[in-house]
Homo-oligomer: 190 residues x 2
Amino acid sequence: MYPEILAHIKRYVQLQPHEEQLVCDMLELKKYKKKEFLLEPGKICQGNYFIIKGCIRQYFVNKKLNEQIIAFGLENWWIADQDSLLNKQPATSYIQTVEACEVLLLTEKNRIALFEQVPVMESYFRIMMQKAFVSSQRRIGFLFNMNDEERYRNFSKLYPGFMQRVPQYMLASYLGFTPQFLSRLRAKKV
Amino acid sequence: MYPEILAHIKRYVQLQPHEEQLVCDMLELKKYKKKEFLLEPGKICQGNYFIIKGCIRQYFVNKKLNEQIIAFGLENWWIADQDSLLNKQPATSYIQTVEACEVLLLTEKNRIALFEQVPVMESYFRIMMQKAFVSSQRRIGFLFNMNDEERYRNFSKLYPGFMQRVPQYMLASYLGFTPQFLSRLRAKKV
Protein backbone atom coordinates (compact mmCIF):
# COMPACT_ATOMS: atom_id res chain seq x y z
CA MET A 1 0.00 0.00 0.00
CA TYR A 2 1.13 3.56 -0.74
CA PRO A 3 -0.17 5.83 2.02
CA GLU A 4 0.98 9.11 0.38
CA ILE A 5 -1.10 8.72 -2.75
CA LEU A 6 -4.13 7.35 -0.89
CA ALA A 7 -4.08 10.37 1.42
CA HIS A 8 -3.88 12.65 -1.61
CA ILE A 9 -6.76 10.96 -3.42
CA LYS A 10 -8.93 11.07 -0.29
CA ARG A 11 -8.53 14.84 -0.10
CA TYR A 12 -10.74 15.01 -3.20
CA VAL A 13 -12.90 11.86 -3.37
CA GLN A 14 -13.99 9.01 -1.10
CA LEU A 15 -12.38 5.58 -1.43
CA GLN A 16 -13.64 2.33 0.09
CA PRO A 17 -10.99 0.04 1.64
CA HIS A 18 -11.20 -2.48 -1.23
CA GLU A 19 -10.83 0.40 -3.70
CA GLU A 20 -7.65 1.54 -1.95
CA GLN A 21 -6.22 -1.89 -2.67
CA LEU A 22 -7.30 -1.71 -6.33
CA VAL A 23 -5.64 1.72 -6.71
CA CYS A 24 -2.37 0.48 -5.23
CA ASP A 25 -2.41 -2.69 -7.35
CA MET A 26 -2.42 -0.53 -10.49
CA LEU A 27 0.63 1.54 -9.51
CA GLU A 28 4.29 0.72 -10.15
CA LEU A 29 6.87 2.03 -7.69
CA LYS A 30 9.92 3.33 -9.54
CA LYS A 31 13.16 4.76 -8.23
CA TYR A 32 15.36 7.13 -10.18
CA LYS A 33 18.73 8.69 -9.53
CA LYS A 34 19.35 12.41 -9.90
CA LYS A 35 19.17 13.64 -13.53
CA GLU A 36 17.57 10.47 -14.92
CA PHE A 37 15.03 10.83 -17.72
CA LEU A 38 11.45 9.59 -17.33
CA LEU A 39 10.57 10.84 -20.82
CA GLU A 40 12.34 12.21 -23.88
CA PRO A 41 10.95 13.81 -27.06
CA GLY A 42 9.91 11.28 -29.69
CA LYS A 43 8.81 8.70 -27.13
CA ILE A 44 5.23 8.11 -26.03
CA CYS A 45 4.65 9.17 -22.41
CA GLN A 46 4.04 5.97 -20.43
CA GLY A 47 1.49 7.40 -18.04
CA ASN A 48 1.02 9.72 -15.08
CA TYR A 49 3.75 9.88 -12.41
CA PHE A 50 2.89 10.65 -8.78
CA ILE A 51 5.92 11.89 -6.84
CA ILE A 52 6.44 10.26 -3.43
CA LYS A 53 9.90 11.73 -2.87
CA GLY A 54 12.09 14.12 -4.82
CA CYS A 55 11.82 16.85 -7.42
CA ILE A 56 11.20 16.54 -11.17
CA ARG A 57 11.21 19.03 -14.02
CA GLN A 58 9.52 19.04 -17.43
CA TYR A 59 11.09 21.11 -20.19
CA PHE A 60 11.28 21.83 -23.89
CA VAL A 61 14.45 22.57 -25.81
CA ASN A 62 13.67 25.63 -27.92
CA LYS A 63 14.96 26.66 -31.32
CA LYS A 64 17.93 28.41 -29.78
CA LEU A 65 18.75 25.12 -27.95
CA ASN A 66 17.86 26.65 -24.60
CA GLU A 67 16.05 24.53 -22.04
CA GLN A 68 12.65 26.04 -21.27
CA ILE A 69 11.17 24.57 -18.08
CA ILE A 70 7.38 24.39 -18.26
CA ALA A 71 6.67 22.51 -15.02
CA PHE A 72 8.20 21.37 -11.76
CA GLY A 73 6.89 18.51 -9.67
CA LEU A 74 7.45 17.90 -5.95
CA GLU A 75 6.12 15.42 -3.37
CA ASN A 76 2.36 14.80 -3.82
CA TRP A 77 2.24 16.28 -7.33
CA TRP A 78 1.52 14.51 -10.58
CA ILE A 79 3.67 15.00 -13.65
CA ALA A 80 3.24 13.77 -17.24
CA ASP A 81 3.27 14.96 -20.83
CA GLN A 82 -0.51 15.29 -21.09
CA ASP A 83 -0.28 16.20 -24.77
CA SER A 84 1.41 12.87 -25.52
CA LEU A 85 -1.08 10.95 -23.32
CA LEU A 86 -4.18 12.66 -24.70
CA ASN A 87 -3.24 12.47 -28.35
CA LYS A 88 -1.24 9.22 -28.16
CA GLN A 89 1.57 11.05 -29.92
CA PRO A 90 5.31 11.14 -29.33
CA ALA A 91 6.20 13.60 -26.58
CA THR A 92 7.74 16.99 -27.33
CA SER A 93 9.05 17.50 -23.77
CA TYR A 94 11.68 16.02 -21.48
CA ILE A 95 10.75 14.86 -17.98
CA GLN A 96 13.85 14.52 -15.80
CA THR A 97 14.60 14.13 -12.11
CA VAL A 98 16.25 17.09 -10.38
CA GLU A 99 16.93 14.99 -7.25
CA ALA A 100 16.88 11.24 -6.61
CA CYS A 101 13.19 10.32 -6.76
CA GLU A 102 10.59 7.73 -5.84
CA VAL A 103 7.53 7.86 -8.04
CA LEU A 104 4.39 5.84 -8.66
CA LEU A 105 3.64 5.25 -12.31
CA LEU A 106 0.04 4.79 -13.43
CA THR A 107 0.39 3.57 -17.02
CA GLU A 108 -2.30 4.54 -19.52
CA LYS A 109 -3.44 0.92 -19.76
CA ASN A 110 -3.77 0.69 -15.97
CA ARG A 111 -5.47 4.09 -15.79
CA ILE A 112 -8.20 2.91 -18.15
CA ALA A 113 -8.64 -0.34 -16.20
CA LEU A 114 -8.66 1.56 -12.90
CA PHE A 115 -11.38 3.99 -14.06
CA GLU A 116 -13.56 0.97 -14.88
CA GLN A 117 -12.98 -0.67 -11.52
CA VAL A 118 -12.98 2.47 -9.37
CA PRO A 119 -15.08 5.07 -11.21
CA VAL A 120 -14.44 7.71 -8.55
CA MET A 121 -10.84 7.83 -9.81
CA GLU A 122 -12.18 9.45 -12.97
CA SER A 123 -13.52 12.30 -10.78
CA TYR A 124 -10.18 12.56 -9.03
CA PHE A 125 -8.34 12.90 -12.34
CA ARG A 126 -10.92 15.37 -13.65
CA ILE A 127 -10.24 17.52 -10.58
CA MET A 128 -6.45 17.13 -11.03
CA MET A 129 -6.75 18.31 -14.65
CA GLN A 130 -9.01 21.19 -13.64
CA LYS A 131 -6.46 22.28 -11.00
CA ALA A 132 -3.61 22.00 -13.51
CA PHE A 133 -5.57 24.09 -16.03
CA VAL A 134 -6.36 26.77 -13.43
CA SER A 135 -2.73 27.03 -12.39
CA SER A 136 -1.47 27.29 -15.96
CA GLN A 137 -4.05 30.00 -16.70
CA ARG A 138 -2.83 31.86 -13.60
CA ARG A 139 0.73 31.48 -14.86
CA ILE A 140 -0.28 33.05 -18.20
CA GLY A 141 -1.78 35.93 -16.21
CA PHE A 142 1.48 36.35 -14.28
CA LEU A 143 3.52 36.33 -17.50
CA PHE A 144 1.40 39.13 -18.93
CA ASN A 145 0.90 41.20 -15.81
CA MET A 146 4.06 40.96 -13.74
CA ASN A 147 7.57 42.01 -14.54
CA ASP A 148 10.49 39.65 -13.89
CA GLU A 149 11.09 40.84 -10.34
CA GLU A 150 7.39 40.60 -9.43
CA ARG A 151 7.24 37.05 -10.80
CA TYR A 152 10.26 36.08 -8.75
CA ARG A 153 8.84 37.55 -5.53
CA ASN A 154 5.45 35.96 -6.18
CA PHE A 155 7.01 32.54 -6.79
CA SER A 156 9.22 32.68 -3.70
CA LYS A 157 6.20 33.67 -1.59
CA LEU A 158 4.12 30.79 -2.97
CA TYR A 159 6.85 28.11 -2.77
CA PRO A 160 9.45 29.15 -0.18
CA GLY A 161 10.85 25.61 0.43
CA PHE A 162 11.17 25.00 -3.26
CA MET A 163 13.63 27.85 -3.85
CA GLN A 164 16.32 25.97 -1.89
CA ARG A 165 15.90 22.73 -3.84
CA VAL A 166 16.48 23.69 -7.46
CA PRO A 167 19.58 25.18 -9.09
CA GLN A 168 19.32 28.89 -9.91
CA TYR A 169 19.51 28.34 -13.66
CA MET A 170 16.43 26.09 -13.56
CA LEU A 171 14.47 28.62 -11.55
CA ALA A 172 15.45 31.33 -14.03
CA SER A 173 14.34 29.11 -16.94
CA TYR A 174 10.97 28.44 -15.30
CA LEU A 175 10.35 32.11 -14.57
CA GLY A 176 11.50 33.16 -18.03
CA PHE A 177 14.59 35.23 -17.33
CA THR A 178 18.38 34.85 -17.39
CA PRO A 179 20.43 33.32 -14.54
CA GLN A 180 22.37 36.62 -14.43
CA PHE A 181 19.17 38.56 -13.70
CA LEU A 182 18.30 36.07 -10.97
CA SER A 183 21.74 36.47 -9.34
CA ARG A 184 21.30 40.24 -9.30
CA LEU A 185 17.85 39.86 -7.75
CA ARG A 186 19.14 37.53 -5.04
CA ALA A 187 22.05 39.88 -4.30
CA LYS A 188 19.45 42.53 -3.50
CA LYS A 189 18.32 40.16 -0.72
CA VAL A 190 14.82 39.85 -2.07
CA MET B 1 -32.66 18.41 -27.78
CA TYR B 2 -29.45 20.25 -28.61
CA PRO B 3 -27.73 18.46 -31.52
CA GLU B 4 -24.54 20.59 -31.44
CA ILE B 5 -23.55 19.63 -27.91
CA LEU B 6 -24.58 15.97 -28.33
CA ALA B 7 -22.41 15.69 -31.44
CA HIS B 8 -19.51 17.24 -29.52
CA ILE B 9 -19.89 14.90 -26.54
CA LYS B 10 -20.11 11.87 -28.83
CA ARG B 11 -16.75 12.74 -30.37
CA TYR B 12 -15.21 11.73 -27.02
CA VAL B 13 -17.56 9.31 -25.24
CA GLN B 14 -20.55 7.11 -26.05
CA LEU B 15 -24.06 8.21 -25.04
CA GLN B 16 -27.18 6.04 -24.97
CA PRO B 17 -30.38 7.66 -26.34
CA HIS B 18 -31.90 8.04 -22.84
CA GLU B 19 -28.64 9.64 -21.67
CA GLU B 20 -28.83 12.17 -24.49
CA GLN B 21 -32.18 13.23 -23.08
CA LEU B 22 -30.75 13.48 -19.55
CA VAL B 23 -27.88 15.66 -20.78
CA CYS B 24 -30.24 18.03 -22.60
CA ASP B 25 -32.60 18.21 -19.61
CA MET B 26 -29.76 19.58 -17.49
CA LEU B 27 -28.85 22.40 -19.89
CA GLU B 28 -30.34 25.89 -20.02
CA LEU B 29 -30.42 27.67 -23.37
CA LYS B 30 -29.44 31.33 -22.96
CA LYS B 31 -29.27 34.12 -25.49
CA TYR B 32 -27.08 37.18 -25.11
CA LYS B 33 -26.65 40.35 -27.13
CA LYS B 34 -23.24 41.59 -28.20
CA LYS B 35 -21.08 42.82 -25.29
CA GLU B 36 -23.25 41.31 -22.54
CA PHE B 37 -21.52 39.93 -19.45
CA LEU B 38 -21.90 36.28 -18.42
CA LEU B 39 -19.59 36.82 -15.45
CA GLU B 40 -17.91 39.69 -13.61
CA PRO B 41 -15.22 39.69 -10.90
CA GLY B 42 -16.61 39.23 -7.40
CA LYS B 43 -19.44 36.97 -8.56
CA ILE B 44 -19.39 33.18 -8.40
CA CYS B 45 -19.26 31.60 -11.86
CA GLN B 46 -22.62 29.89 -12.43
CA GLY B 47 -21.29 26.93 -14.37
CA ASN B 48 -19.82 25.85 -17.69
CA TYR B 49 -21.05 27.51 -20.89
CA PHE B 50 -21.11 25.63 -24.20
CA ILE B 51 -21.24 27.99 -27.17
CA ILE B 52 -23.80 27.10 -29.86
CA LYS B 53 -23.43 30.35 -31.78
CA GLY B 54 -21.21 33.40 -31.41
CA CYS B 55 -17.92 34.43 -29.89
CA ILE B 56 -17.05 35.05 -26.24
CA ARG B 57 -13.96 36.37 -24.50
CA GLN B 58 -12.61 35.94 -20.97
CA TYR B 59 -10.33 38.65 -19.59
CA PHE B 60 -8.71 40.15 -16.54
CA VAL B 61 -8.28 43.86 -15.89
CA ASN B 62 -4.67 44.30 -14.79
CA LYS B 63 -3.10 46.79 -12.41
CA LYS B 64 -2.62 49.31 -15.21
CA LEU B 65 -6.36 48.96 -15.97
CA ASN B 66 -5.64 47.23 -19.27
CA GLU B 67 -7.87 44.38 -20.40
CA GLN B 68 -5.82 41.19 -20.66
CA ILE B 69 -7.69 38.52 -22.66
CA ILE B 70 -6.88 35.03 -21.42
CA ALA B 71 -9.33 33.01 -23.52
CA PHE B 72 -11.65 33.18 -26.50
CA GLY B 73 -14.56 30.83 -27.08
CA LEU B 74 -16.26 30.03 -30.39
CA GLU B 75 -18.93 27.55 -31.54
CA ASN B 76 -18.45 24.11 -29.92
CA TRP B 77 -16.09 25.40 -27.21
CA TRP B 78 -16.69 25.54 -23.48
CA ILE B 79 -15.95 28.64 -21.46
CA ALA B 80 -16.02 29.24 -17.69
CA ASP B 81 -13.95 30.66 -14.84
CA GLN B 82 -12.63 27.25 -13.70
CA ASP B 83 -10.86 28.84 -10.75
CA SER B 84 -14.17 30.15 -9.40
CA LEU B 85 -15.93 26.83 -10.09
CA LEU B 86 -13.21 24.65 -8.58
CA ASN B 87 -12.63 26.71 -5.47
CA LYS B 88 -16.20 28.03 -5.10
CA GLN B 89 -14.71 31.49 -4.86
CA PRO B 90 -15.70 34.81 -6.44
CA ALA B 91 -14.39 35.08 -9.97
CA THR B 92 -11.42 37.28 -10.86
CA SER B 93 -12.21 37.39 -14.58
CA TYR B 94 -14.85 38.86 -16.87
CA ILE B 95 -16.65 36.65 -19.40
CA GLN B 96 -18.31 38.76 -22.09
CA THR B 97 -19.87 38.17 -25.49
CA VAL B 98 -17.98 39.58 -28.49
CA GLU B 99 -20.94 38.85 -30.80
CA ALA B 100 -24.61 38.02 -30.12
CA CYS B 101 -24.51 34.49 -28.68
CA GLU B 102 -26.53 31.38 -27.96
CA VAL B 103 -25.05 29.27 -25.18
CA LEU B 104 -26.00 26.26 -23.11
CA LEU B 105 -25.38 26.70 -19.39
CA LEU B 106 -24.61 23.64 -17.27
CA THR B 107 -24.86 24.98 -13.74
CA GLU B 108 -22.62 23.47 -11.07
CA LYS B 109 -25.66 21.95 -9.34
CA ASN B 110 -26.80 20.33 -12.59
CA ARG B 111 -23.27 19.20 -13.43
CA ILE B 112 -23.05 17.27 -10.16
CA ALA B 113 -26.49 15.72 -10.73
CA LEU B 114 -25.61 14.88 -14.33
CA PHE B 115 -22.36 13.11 -13.37
CA GLU B 116 -24.40 10.90 -11.03
CA GLN B 117 -27.00 10.07 -13.65
CA VAL B 118 -24.66 9.81 -16.65
CA PRO B 119 -21.21 8.87 -15.32
CA VAL B 120 -19.63 8.96 -18.75
CA MET B 121 -20.07 12.76 -18.63
CA GLU B 122 -17.37 12.82 -15.96
CA SER B 123 -14.99 11.24 -18.52
CA TYR B 124 -16.06 13.82 -21.09
CA PHE B 125 -15.30 16.70 -18.70
CA ARG B 126 -12.01 15.11 -17.64
CA ILE B 127 -11.01 15.04 -21.32
CA MET B 128 -12.17 18.65 -21.81
CA MET B 129 -10.03 19.76 -18.85
CA GLN B 130 -7.06 17.75 -20.11
CA LYS B 131 -7.39 19.42 -23.54
CA ALA B 132 -7.67 22.85 -21.95
CA PHE B 133 -4.57 22.20 -19.85
CA VAL B 134 -2.58 20.99 -22.86
CA SER B 135 -3.52 24.06 -24.88
CA SER B 136 -2.62 26.46 -22.07
CA GLN B 137 0.74 24.71 -21.62
CA ARG B 138 1.32 25.09 -25.36
CA ARG B 139 0.44 28.75 -25.06
CA ILE B 140 3.05 29.18 -22.29
CA GLY B 141 5.56 27.53 -24.63
CA PHE B 142 4.62 30.00 -27.41
CA LEU B 143 4.99 32.95 -25.03
CA PHE B 144 8.50 31.88 -24.11
CA ASN B 145 9.72 30.67 -27.48
CA MET B 146 8.15 32.90 -30.11
CA ASN B 147 8.48 36.59 -30.67
CA ASP B 148 5.40 38.77 -31.27
CA GLU B 149 5.39 38.31 -35.04
CA GLU B 150 5.83 34.53 -34.80
CA ARG B 151 2.94 34.31 -32.32
CA TYR B 152 0.72 36.29 -34.66
CA ARG B 153 1.59 34.12 -37.67
CA ASN B 154 1.13 30.94 -35.66
CA PHE B 155 -2.28 32.08 -34.38
CA SER B 156 -3.52 33.14 -37.82
CA LYS B 157 -2.45 29.78 -39.26
CA LEU B 158 -4.24 27.86 -36.49
CA TYR B 159 -7.45 29.93 -36.51
CA PRO B 160 -7.84 31.67 -39.88
CA GLY B 161 -11.62 32.21 -39.63
CA PHE B 162 -11.29 33.65 -36.19
CA MET B 163 -9.09 36.57 -37.26
CA GLN B 164 -12.02 38.13 -39.12
CA ARG B 165 -14.41 37.93 -36.17
CA VAL B 166 -12.68 39.82 -33.39
CA PRO B 167 -11.61 43.46 -33.25
CA GLN B 168 -7.87 44.04 -33.65
CA TYR B 169 -7.41 45.39 -30.14
CA MET B 170 -8.79 42.15 -28.66
CA LEU B 171 -6.50 40.02 -30.77
CA ALA B 172 -3.53 42.17 -29.70
CA SER B 173 -4.55 41.78 -26.06
CA TYR B 174 -4.80 37.99 -26.40
CA LEU B 175 -1.42 37.73 -28.11
CA GLY B 176 0.20 40.11 -25.64
CA PHE B 177 1.19 43.06 -27.79
CA THR B 178 -0.08 46.55 -28.63
CA PRO B 179 -2.77 47.28 -31.24
CA GLN B 180 -0.20 49.55 -32.96
CA PHE B 181 2.18 46.62 -33.40
CA LEU B 182 -0.66 44.52 -34.81
CA SER B 183 -1.56 47.26 -37.34
CA ARG B 184 2.04 47.39 -38.51
CA LEU B 185 2.12 43.61 -38.87
CA ARG B 186 -1.09 43.56 -40.88
CA ALA B 187 0.17 46.38 -43.10
CA LYS B 188 3.07 44.09 -44.01
CA LYS B 189 0.40 41.76 -45.45
CA VAL B 190 1.33 38.90 -43.19
